[in-house]
């Protein structure tokens, strides 16, 4: 019997990868523990190790093949002494990679409806499709080139090239003085980062995820955010705390939380949560340049998605300005981060049913662009907030309050929150799916506010 070797999932969020290199050829004997191939994921290049003994009889996916879905059969091994019988194996070849169904594809971002209204992008600008993680890296690299006070510190940011590859290549360009690997010691290095900012540097502190930043939240809130005020404006703390935030995929309750509402409640902090590559780049550059402490919330599930980034020498976006992602007249969806993709998907469904929604991407959670929300509400008179996070004391709650206090006369229906279920995020695939927001729930809420 032939043993099928399948494209392995090498990280919780991996859906496909590149078969970077075959280290064994057809006909080679394979021992358990042999490295058969190198597989490149969106996070790292991993070695694929044999667990069976036999002879590599067939390579089914060529070296260099990209976007090979997890689970695709990439090779066959014949067990020892089974060669005679294995003729039948050849009759049932594994399907070619192209035909293999990708397992559980994540919600692919629909093509962005470009309604970019940022003043910084002149008409006629060309765009380059860029992964969000690379846009973030480019932003950091550009600012590091421009200002020697800027440096990066965090766990695995240097030699490992970033746990999520966001700092890939920075060590090579800027050296270990400016790309600093820290021990696993969030409270300590967040404090050292804040102190370095007070001492005149401009640190970018990466948290491997914001879940771990809870160990460091004292320095973010008490040291970074409040010192300027307490010192009567003497003590600045120009620092960027950044990293992935929100639910990833099947990593359970302790690794899946949206801290946007937590940090957005703190005066003295700037809180940014971009969605696409252009915003990630433009807002990261603005965050690094700011003289204020910034919490920059990224999303692991979005890192690998590609979106257009304008080909500008210096693409910097304004902090505190929301963006109209899509214009519409019947209802408004206010959202941010990964919610933007879901809102766009919901908008397509709704359009098919004759409902034309406007989508507002908040981009900055503090200071919140209230006016953008109120302007859209005045236009559509109906509003839904889509937030990948808990409903209680959320950004969604805040938007509801703003609509009540300042937009009451424009409301034709109650404002609805579409948030995650109010439970710790479960591990089981079905329960996780039940707990998280998705486009159908947004569609349903929009229909309710439209009374259809």
């Amino acid at each position: 019997m032939a043993i099928e070797l399948k494209m392995p999932a090498l990280s919780p969020t991996m859906e496909e990868g590149t078969l970077a290199k075959w280290l064994k050829a057809e006909g080679d004997a394979i021992e358990p523990g042999d490295i058969i191939a190198e597989i490149e994921t969106d996070k790292a290049t991993m070695e694929f190790e044999a667990i069976d003994e036999g002879v590599l009889t067939k390579i089914l996916v060529a070296e260099g093949a990209e976007n090979v879905a997890v689970g695709t059969v990439i090779a066959q091994i014949e067990g020892e002494g089974e060669g005679e019988d294995s003729g039948s194996g050849a009759e049932a070849p594994a399907p070619p990679p192209a035909a293999s169904p990708a397992p559980a594809p994540a919600a692919e971002a629909p093509a962005a409806v470009v309604a970019v209204n940022d003043p910084a992008i002149p008409a006629g600008t060309s765009f380059t499709s860029t992964q969000v993680r690379d846009a973030l890296r480019d932003a950091m690299a550009e600012e590091m080139r421009a200002d020697r006070r800027v440096f990066v510190m965090g766990e695995e940011v240097a030699e490992y090239q970033g746990a999520y590859k966001v700092t890939q290549g920075l060590l090579e360009e800027f050296g270990p003085k400016r790309v600093i690997d820290t021990p696993i010691t969030e409270y300590g290095f967040a404090g050292i980062g804040a102190g370095a900012a007070m001492g005149g540097l401009k640190p970018i502190v990466e948290f491997m995820t914001f879940n771990f930043a809870m160990q460091a939240i004292d320095h973010i809130v008490n040291s970074a955010a409040k010192t300027n005020y307490m010192s009567g404006g003497q003590m600045r703390c120009p620092i960027v705390f950044r990293g992935p935030n929100g639910a990833a995929s099947r990593v359970g309750a302790q690794h899946s939380q949206n801290y946007g509402p937590w940090y957005a409640s703190v005066p003295g902090l700037i809180v940014i949560a971009p969605y696409d590559s252009a915003d990630a780049k433009g807002l990261m550059k603005a965050a690094i340049r700011s003289e204020d402490p910034v919490v920059f919330l990224e999303n692991e599930l979005v890192y690998g998605r590609s979106y257009d980034v304008p080909d500008l020498d210096d693409h910097v976006l304004p902090i505190g300005k929301a963006r109209v992602v899509k214009e519409g007249k019947d209802a408004t969806i206010v959202t941010y981060s990964i919610g933007v993709g879901m809102a766009l998907e919901a908008a397509e469904t709704l359009a098919a049913e004759g409902i034309d929604v406007e989508i507002i991407d908040l981009r900055t959670l503090r200071p919140l662009d209230k006016q953008a929300v109120l302007d859209s509400l005045a236009k559509t008179n109906r509003l839904v907030i889509a937030e990948e996070g808990w409903p209680t004391c959320s950004i969604a709650s805040e938007i509801v309050a703003i609509c009540m206090e300042e937009g009451f006369d424009h409301l034709d229906a109650p404002v609805l929150r579409v948030c995650n279920e109010d439970v710790p995020l479960p591990y089981a695939a079905n329960l996780e799916k039940l707990a998280l927001i998705d486009p159908p729930r947004i569609v349903e809420a929009v229909k309710r506010v439209c009374y259809v």
Binding site: Y187, G191, M198, L201, M230, S231, G232, G233, M235
Partner: protein
């Protein structure tokens, strides 16, 4: 040295570490670095100060003493609110250490018991007292209060209210010195209570790993609020707590300004030469309560009186000055001058207006968005 409430400290001479170095060189003794600074300090324990320096130490310590006594009075009158932690008894620590700094490049950071460290810089007592009373003229515009005072002009970075936070922040200031190659060091103070915070050790690890120019100073005033250090700490000889990170420790009598200064010279030189951090334990004693609302049920009056009678840093300095030929009258005149300065500071702080209501909304963010 301040006598500890419990007789727990062996005399420094009997330590095994000293014996090793008597017989062996640093090559034979892998732990040489951990005790060599203490030995260097003990070889010349008292700073040889000239007359002018001695008078300045005396004057500065007395200024802190009289300032804090006045602050205590103003608190009693309701002019100072909230938390107010007095430095009385600990004056020799700030003066002995900070007199050895290079103020053009070195930085200082401390916790909430920060009045003395600011006065040691020569910062105008008026603006400090006005901060305590929450007035517009205060050094933080009245928005910080006793625990949150800063002077970036003097490279004094606070004044932090969260116990132990200043240690990690100090590590960051040291990182900035190293990054900018400015030759400066950071002096980071914390108490025996803060010494049990986890982030202190996270910082020790990184400071030693990266050879940051930082001097960690444990001001061991024997009590973390009302808990005696022997009741809160498994290892009360705090200078040993850097050993796990290969940080050399020094144990110093924090009630003797000349010894503190001598120790500072040894520690600062080591750090400035690029050898990484030093951990100094300054044994001292706080005469007053932890804060103004401390009932002091955890120690006896006799214990406090014994410290005042036999170990007072200012009285000690006074004896040295008298031995050196100064007469009582001259020293009284100094005291009188300082009382005047403090009275003026108090008057200033009472008469300065409260901050304008509009100040409520300033300094939250630096930029406009």
């Amino acid at each position: 040295m301040a006598k500890k409430p419990a007789a727990r400290k062996a005399p420094a001479k009997s330590r095994a570490a000293s014996k090793v170095s008597e017989t062996g060189s640093s090559i034979e003794d892998p732990d040489f670095i951990l005790h060599s600074l203490q030995e260097e300090f003990e070889a010349a324990k008292s700073f040889v100060a000239n007359d002018e320096q001695m008078l300045e130490f005396y004057r500065q310590m007395l200024l802190i003493r009289r300032f804090e006594e006045k602050a205590g009075q103003l608190y009693g009158l309701g002019l100072i609110g909230g938390f107010c932690h007095l430095y009385i008894g600990q004056e020799a620590v700030a003066i002995g250490l900070q007199s050895a700094l290079d103020n053009d490049r070195d930085s200082v950071i401390t916790g909430y018991r920060d009045h003395g460290h600011m006065l040691a810089y020569g910062i105008d007592p008026k603006v400090i007292m006005a901060e305590l009373t929450g007035r517009e003229a205060g050094i933080s515009g009245g928005k910080g209060g006793s625990m949150h005072m800063f002077s970036t002009e003097h490279k004094f970075y606070g004044g932090h209210g969260i116990v132990g936070a200043q240690v990690a922040l100090g590590g960051g200031l040291a990182l900035a010195h190293q990054y900018n190659e400015d030759g400066g060091l950071c002096l980071a103070y914390f108490g025996d209570g803060a010494a049990n915070q986890g982030q202190v050790y996270e910082t020790f690890n990184m400071a030693a790993l990266w050879k940051l120019p930082i001097v960690f100073v444990v001001e061991d005033n024997q009590y973390a609020m009302g808990t005696a250090s022997s009741r809160s700490s498994a290892e009360t000889r705090f200078h040993r707590r850097g050993t796990a990170f290969r940080i050399p420790g020094m144990e110093v009598d924090g009630m003797n300004v000349l010894e503190v200064r001598a120790a500072a010279e040894v520690a600062f030189k080591h750090v400035r030469e690029g050898n990484g951090p030093v951990l100094m334990e300054l044994n001292t004693y706080r005469y007053r309560g932890h804060s103004m609302s401390d009932p002091a049920k955890y120690r006896t009056r006799d214990e406090v009186q014994e410290q005042r009678d036999n170990h007072d840093p200012i009285e000690r300095m006074k004896s040295v000055l008298i031995e050196a030929g100064h007469d009582e009258a001259d020293l009284k005149a100094i005291d009188k001058g300082i009382r005047k300065i403090v009275t003026e500071a108090a008057d200033f702080s009472e008469n300065s207006p409260e901050p304008q209501p509009a100040e409520l909304y300033t300094d939250i963010l630096v930029e406009k968005y």
